[in-house]
Subunit: 149 residues, 2 copies
Amino acid sequence: MLKRTYEGQDCSIAHALEVVGERWTLLIIRDALLGLRRFDEFQRNLGIARKVLADRLRWLVDEGILERVPYQERPQRYEYHLTRKGRDLHVALVGLRQWGDAHCSEKPPMLARTKSDKKPVIAALVPKRSDHLRLEEVEFVPGPGHGSR
Amino acid sequence: MLKRTYEGQDCSIAHALEVVGERWTLLIIRDALLGLRRFDEFQRNLGIARKVLADRLRWLVDEGILERVPYQERPQRYEYHLTRKGRDLHVALVGLRQWGDAHCSEKPPMLARTKSDKKPVIAALVPKRSDHLRLEEVEFVPGPGHGSR
DNA sequence: CCACGTCGGTTCCTTGAAGGAACCGACCCT
DNA sequence: AGGGTCGGTTCCTTCAAGGAACCGACGTGG
């Protein structure tokens, strides 16, 4: 990408994509939502070039999506934790996931369900004040298509 | 991007991003959802290089997200219509939009509301069988932040 | 009949981001 | 002293995006 920006676009989708629209970025956030925290965990799980991963992590910290927190001294080591802003991306990611489930995979490699009664969960449009699930009420578990690729 | 694929990822998010994750692609689909159909409309509205637009449109037609339909003969001219598969991306796009509204813009440039009673609409996680709005029940109108950029 | 405009592209060159492999520095263990 | 771990950085190559010019089929006006 020559520029990461979409100039002249008066649109929150364009603004969002300027921040998280580059290659790898949403997959890093997906992994963070699933609990990954350390440089090597991301690198091994994604197979991403170390340079690109370092660039993306720095950018995401600058944007307030990840937080760089020390987990040991001598040698100083840091891990990356999602902020509220980062966790808020879960709706868009679940939306992408279910589109991929419906149109790109035969069987879903992963399922979203309620923690309490294990009922399937989807992302959908609803009236603003109607009740919906918070991220902490939902869990993600391997689905029927897991491992088929 | 050297490759458009994310090899070794057993994940529908990765598969979805292999199809619609490249620069410009989601903005083209956003425009299509708002009613744009012709090459020049997309090109002017996005300010995208014509070559890249031609590449993306061809790709999206190949993937069954857009349909190339003739709207005149002599000279043969085509426009691009969203398929069901393409329209299904609206949940992910609204999810991205509201994240951008919440974290990247001061005021939303665009609002989603119900066509019937003009109540605000959000994307959210809900139990699978609970009722939610279909795309045709929702409209998108300029919001308070419209034109501020 | 010739010039101009419209639409939907294609061609060509330049620039810069991604891939990949090697290297590095601080520390620990044996 | 040698090797391993972790979190990077450096360097080179390759390929996609940006941008501007060009093109072909057709309609329009003088």
